[in-house]
Symmetry: C2
Subunit: 345 residues, 2 copies
């Protein structure tokens, strides 16, 4: 005597048995094929509902050799930047009948490869790497097997696609903005190995050079985190003469810098101007009102998905490197430097 199966663990065969048809027919119905008689279709649907049948994505994926699933590796869920990127990804994927599976690396390079490996073992059809910390060997190898697109970091290997904003130009805009307000001692807390941090650093340096402020250029090491911005800013605020403007590698780091500045008893923007990068929801808070560089996050997520589909469904094989334009958003954390008695900042 076989006991009734646990609800929901029913297989296609159970449904077939109950509906009095072959498992092939059940398969047809479940996939919504036409050319199935109404009578049988209803019988199958009734049986499936009664048994709580749920198709097994693994068995499906095994034989179909694809999962209609996109894998997304997010380096750091704490950064609100990625919440929007993921939202864009979900939007676009859903529109195309794909689903999305996310894994995260807690901002650690070691966990990053682990997360990617998990996604690969589940044989996702495409991989989106948001805020990649390092372009590891695993990633390049993976791109021989399936489309891989980087969001936020520009790809080096030719088999990788990428969607980025022009970090260099964004950084230049940030520096130019400060300079145009009259700042000369503009410093930069960089983003370490973070995605795009390198280009932002170069943009900062190039802009300082072009503006003939090279001798005032100072870069201290930081990271895409509050802690990174905090410690970097503390270093800078030690310097004499003190910088009058700080360009942080991203908004989260800028918040850390903001805290550091206040801890030192200084005011923003009266004593120190501050610029971030990303224009996350944080920056827009009235209480923070951070001058920053906007990246079209939602679009970037959507674009990542369509870039993937170009390879998946349209057979593109040449790399695509989409670079969107950033734009400066001026808010309350920047102002002209206050002058000392001699008219110097």
């Amino acid at each position: 005597m076989v006991s009734k199966r646990a609800r929901g663990k029913a297989t296609i065969t159970d449904v077939a048995l109950r509906a009095g048809v072959s498992k092939s027919l059940v398969s047809l119905v479940m996939r919504g094929e036409r050319h199935v008689s109404a009578k049988r279709r209803e019988a199958v649907q009734a049986a499936a509902a009664a048994l709580g049948y749920r198709p097994n994505a693994m068995a499906r994926g095994l034989v179909e050799r694809r999962t209609r699933t996109l894998g997304v590796m997010v380096s750091d869920l704490h950064n609100p930047f990625f919440a929007d990127v993921v939202e864009g990804i979900q939007d676009q994927a859903r529109r195309s009948g794909y689903r999305v599976l996310i894994d995260t690396a807690n901002n650690l390079a070691s966990q990053q490869d682990e997360a990617i490996e998990t996604l690969l073992q589940f044989r996702v059809d495409g991989l989106i790497l948001a805020g990649l910390l390092a372009e590891s060997r695993l990633i390049v190898e993976a791109s021989q097997e399936l489309p891989v697109v980087l969001v936020g970091r520009s790809a080096r290997a030719p088999s990788l696609d990428s969607v980025t904003n022009d970090d260099w130009a964004g950084a230049v805009a940030a520096v130019r903005h400060c300079a145009s307000l009259g700042h000369r001692r503009i410093s930069h807390v960089d983003g370490g190995q973070g995605a795009g941090a390198d280009a932002r650093r170069r943009g900062y340096e190039d802009a300082m050079r072009v503006l003939r402020l090279r001798k005032h250029a100072v870069v201290v090491p930081g990271s895409y985190s509050e802690e990174g911005g905090h410690s970097g800013a503390l270093l800078l605020l030690e310097r004499r003469p003190r910088p009058t403007a700080l360009f942080a590698a991203n908004d989260v780091a800028a918040i850390g810098a903001l805290n550091a500045i206040e801890e030192r008893g200084l005011r923003v923007p009266d004593d120190v101007s501050l610029v971030g990068y990303d224009n996350t929801s944080l920056a827009a808070l009235r209480h923070i009102s951070l001058t920053t560089v906007h990246q079209p996050r939602l679009e970037m997520g959507q674009l990542a998905v369509s870039t993937l589909f170009e390879r998946l469904e349209e057979g593109r094989t040449r790399p695509r490197r989409a670079v969107l334009s950033p734009s400066l958003v001026v808010r309350g954390t920047t102002a002209p430097p206050s002058l000392d008695g001699k008219g110097n900042p």
Copy 2:
């Protein structure tokens, strides 16, 4: 003539062929079984490396009938609360040799069931639902098949476990704090259908009653989002006499309320005191410095995983409802109400 397989799509059979052993032996080596001669083990490992072999989690899962994977549904990636919960989940899962797959609902009940369905189709071994918007039928049915634990919302169905903080007590503490500062017109912007919002609302109402402030109690509808807090606060600030303290359903909503208060030209805490809930990183920002109620987020994530494992590996079948204690964190957004000429707030 068979062309060389694409790197990485190699199967266990390819590895077996190249190493000159049976696929069973390859399987043993890949799973790290002992009782395999060193010679063969090395041969297999070399072959696997050369072919870029990666085990297929779907094929594995199919025959093993488990995936060593936990599914996590996060209602809203924009809420930093969940970043910490997920971090705790990842920690604990990794420690037990499980991996984690995440899906998100963009704060929409409709997408919530979709996300869960995806996870179920991939036959995750257990399900963690963080910030559930509504306890749908799907969820209750799913809990007959696999362990399901809710984080942030207390379960109703007996087959569900949950990890929550005592939202009622947290809300009471928030109200008492305001009252002890001298506030009487304390209003609440609620969290709508959000996880725990109901208990927070009841806590607010009960505290107001006990404090004999029932006639001052006002609840306006909101949600766990900036927008919800913003619109709710605007409603409250219209009222005459105006409330002197606002208790928002969570930190994100409190930020929205903060914006609304400032838009109305009022100052916090001079004109209006404000309390949030969750003690997210947002609240801790010096610039915001929000008085709020702390929930142990990391712990809650970890506890969710161990709760799952008790069912998965220790055979527990009775529901477990863990309730952690919240604690009030007093920061800069609360102060005694300013008095008018007659000594009234």
